[in-house]
């Protein structure tokens, strides 16, 4: 039962990153691929009216974590206090930028919110990358399972670590590049005209750099947590993640060569999902590794809710998931194809 819930929270997180990650990537690109106010509206319209639905996957993840692993939820959210508030403030700014940015047809108003959109999404992408790095590296968890972490300590990866160190920052940067490529791929698929051409050029360049970055970050991870490589090889579920990742990479490669925009986008989503899936399978059952003493680590087993809570949640949770997929289908089909900036898309209010 605990294993099943571990899979479900990993699933929620993965879907969230695939859906909202592209919006972070778009944030990085926004000011570069769209030069005129009209083009910027086009990018906002491409993000579309379902952005808050994307964001809710994170809330769903938080809620699922709370119901299935309440102790992990409490320890990690209070431990990552400042980082989480930074993320929350960025969400506030990002949401406002999308909702009110097009509200007034005024150049300064729109330029301001375009910049806010970019800034908040870049920071969100970076912070989520750093969070992933933190998950791989671990946190200074004490014997009670609690921890309080500062932004940075000595930038080292052992002992009393902070949120930022050389490893987590480089993980943040690599994730941001991957999400930017993901966003560029999405914009290529959804837009036309100059925004499309610039995004396509950007996507090709970014995807060319990613293999190099990937090797670097793998080597870093191997240095920080040498035991993970062995755990990955010994875990068949992680192989499945690697297989999805490889299939995605193949789709991106052939998609980019053949100009198949949709295939590239699906492939890039699969790459991210495969990566996260393989990572989640590898670290299991430890969720938050303790850099002070491995015995303090928070695992799926020592943080899970009681069996009755898990069983009860399993009754309603799949219903909610099925419903939300239905909503997506119901709304999403009305917004298929390339976006055109018009009054019935998000670009204009």
């Amino acid at each position: 039962m605990v294993e099943l819930w571990y899979v479900l929270i990993a699933f929620m997180m993965t879907v969230y990153v695939v859906l909202d990650g592209r919006n972070f990537g778009i944030g990085v690109l926004h000011l570069f691929v769209a030069k005129t106010p009209e083009e910027r509206r086009q990018v906002v319209a491409a993000i579309g009216p379902l952005w808050s639905w994307h964001e809710v996957w994170l809330v769903g993840f938080g809620g699922t974590l709370f119901v299935a692993f309440p102790r992990l939820y409490a320890c990690s959210f209070s431990g990552y206090y400042l980082a989480l508030f930074l993320i929350l403030w960025c969400f506030v700014l990002r949401g406002m930028a999308l909702e009110v940015g097009g509200h007034i047809n005024d150049r300064m108003w729109q330029s301001f919110w375009d910049a806010v959109l970019s800034f908040s999404n870049v920071l969100l992408g970076l912070l989520f990358g750093v969070a992933l790095g933190d998950l791989a590296r671990g946190a200074p968890i004490g014997p009670t399972g609690d921890f309080a972490m500062s932004f940075f300590t000595d930038f080292g990866v052992r002992g009393d670590v902070g949120l930022l160190d050389w490893y987590t920052v480089s993980m943040g940067a690599v994730c941001l590049v991957i999400l930017t490529a993901h966003g560029a791929t999405y914009l290529t698929w959804k837009t036309e005209g100059p925004v499309h051409d610039r995004s396509a050029a950007m996507a090709r360049r970014l995807w060319a750099v990613i293999p190099v970055l990937f090797i670097i970050i793998s080597a870093e991870t191997w240095y920080v947590r040498p035991e993970l490589a062995g755990k990955m090889v010994g875990n068949p579920v992680a192989w499945l993640g690697v297989a999805v990742f490889a299939a995605g990479a193949a789709a991106v490669f052939t998609g980019l060569r053949g100009g198949l925009e949709r295939r590239t986008f699906v492939g890039s989503g699969m790459m991210i999902a495969g990566l996260l899936g393989a990572g989640a399978a590898t670290i299991f059952p430890v969720i938050l590794f303790s850099t002070l003493d491995p015995a303090n680590s928070l695992t799926a087993y020592n943080t899970a809710a009681g069996l009755s809570s898990l069983e009860l949640a399993l009754i309603w949770w799949p219903v909610a998931l099925a419903l939300t997929c239905t909503y997506f289908w119901f709304i999403g089909r009305h917004y298929a194809g390339k976006v055109k900036v018009s009054k019935d898309t998000q670009g204009y209010y």
Partner: protein, 420 residues
């Protein structure tokens, strides 16, 4: 939450009668609803996270119970709302009239189910039911039906949702009055006044009776010390007075310059004028709510405002049936100016609920000072509180500016002309 059902109602009218004026009303109010929603969604997400960030000990202790409803809120309500809100505001042409109606209905149901789940959670904190204690000393859910149908939750939900309808009704009415007084958009103003005052009277009555009355009885039976503090009742006894006016003097344990209504409190709490009502002196001071004065004023002001709402909406409906509402300037002015007061009344009601529960986080189970995150230091809490205060202030100013701008532009007939 209140406005959502106006949108559903108008959309339904438009769909069945083909009356374009109702579509126009939906289009206009959907924009205002969208602004509300934008501010609501960006400020709501921090709240979902704060259980973990700021109330870690509370989350560990009660996660086995309230984790269920908080998670349900995310998975059922937020997904529903967030999927359809964009389509409701921008998608009228893309979706077609029928699906646009579905979107309005989905958003209304999403926001109300969100209210339900969060109020079940709050009701558990007020009046815990259906729980047991696990081997590690933390709470576990033993009876999910009892938990979801907590009588406190049902009373609180109806009271709160009626209050939401009051708020929505006053906003709709106020704008109708505003346009009528300016002789502007009169077609639309008439719809707003008619729908707003009709729903407003019903909701204002329901919020007082039976929902508010049941809520007070619920407090009287389950949290007698809270009721005593709400009423500034320092000494227990039979045939308790209800104080219409008076200031609690906690130091001297009495009410200054009270104007009492004999026996009324006994009647409201227990249904008979002679019955016994507990006083604060029967309880150890460490069980008293921490801020009795604030609790007392919050409750009394809420009740006073509630009565003013009934009076105002009653008058409005009398004039409407006489066909004179459009010309009654003396009434349109107060109707227009009244719109902030339901917001104030709502806040006062929540203050009454939350201050009244003190010193408990979960009534009789966990004190507030046992629930906060031990690992988060004061400096970080103050820093983030200041940050939120600043950010929310800016959001508030911008929200008022943007709504004011929409009101100034007014409703327009074609969806194409909705901006520019």
């Amino acid at each position: 939450m209140g406005l959502a059902w106006f949108l559903v109602y108008w959309k339904a009218r438009a769909l069945w009668t083909g009356d374009e004026r109702y579509n126009e009303a939906v289009r206009f109010w959907a924009k205002i609803f969208g602004l509300n929603f934008a501010v609501g969604v960006v400020t709501g997400i921090p709240m979902e996270f704060q259980f973990g960030t700021n109330w870690a000990e509370f989350s560990k202790f009660s996660g086995g119970v309230i984790g269920q409803t908080l998670s349900m809120e995310g998975m059922f309500a937020f997904f529903l709302e967030s999927a359809f809100i964009g389509a409701l505001i921008w998608g009228e042409k893309r979706l077609g009239p029928r699906n646009h109606f579905v979107a309005a209905l989905a958003v209304a149901m999403g926001s109300w189910s969100s209210g339900f789940f969060i109020l079940v959670t709050n009701a558990f904190m007020q009046h815990p039911v259906g729980y047991g204690t696990g081997p590690d000393g933390n709470l576990v859910l033993t009876d999910v039906v009892a938990f979801l149908t907590n009588p406190w939750a049902l009373v609180q939900f109806t009271h709160n949702q009626c209050a939401a309808l009051v708020t929505g009704s006053f906003a709709v009415t106020a704008l109708g009055a505003f346009y009528t007084l300016r002789s502007d958009h009169l077609d639309q103003a008439r719809i707003y006044l008619r729908s707003g005052t009709a729903a407003g009277l019903a909701a204002s009555l329901l919020v007082a009776f039976p929902t508010g009355d049941s809520q007070a009885k619920m407090v009287a039976h389950n949290q007698p010390v809270t009721l005593a503090a709400m009423e500034g009742r320092f000494h227990g006894g039979d045939m308790a007075d209800l104080t219409a006016i008076g200031q609690p003097n906690v130091k001297l344990q009495k009410l200054d310059n009270p104007i009492p209504i004999p026996g009324a409190l006994s009647f409201l709490a227990n249904g008979t004028f002679e019955s016994y009502v507990h006083g604060l002196d029967e309880y150890s001071p460490d069980l008293w709510p921490d801020n009795i004065e604030l609790l007392y004023y919050a409750f009394h002001l809420m009740v006073t405002l509630g009565m003013i709402f009934i009076l105002l909406m009653g008058l409005a409906n009398v004039q409407r049936f006489r066909g004179q509402l459009d010309t009654s300037k003396w009434l349109l002015w107060p109707l227009m100016l009244a719109f902030p007061f339901p917001y104030i009344a709502n806040s006062l009601g929540w203050m009454t609920t939350e201050l009244g529960r003190q010193p408990w986080l979960i009534y009789n189970l966990l004190r507030t000072n046992q629930g906060y995150s031990q690992e988060v230091n004061n400096g970080n809490v103050i820093f983030t509180l200041i940050g939120f205060t600043g950010l929310y202030f800016v959001l508030g100013v911008m929200f008022l500016y943007l709504v004011g701008r929409e009101v100034y532009h007014g409703p327009v007939s074609e969806p194409e002309a909705a901006h520019g």
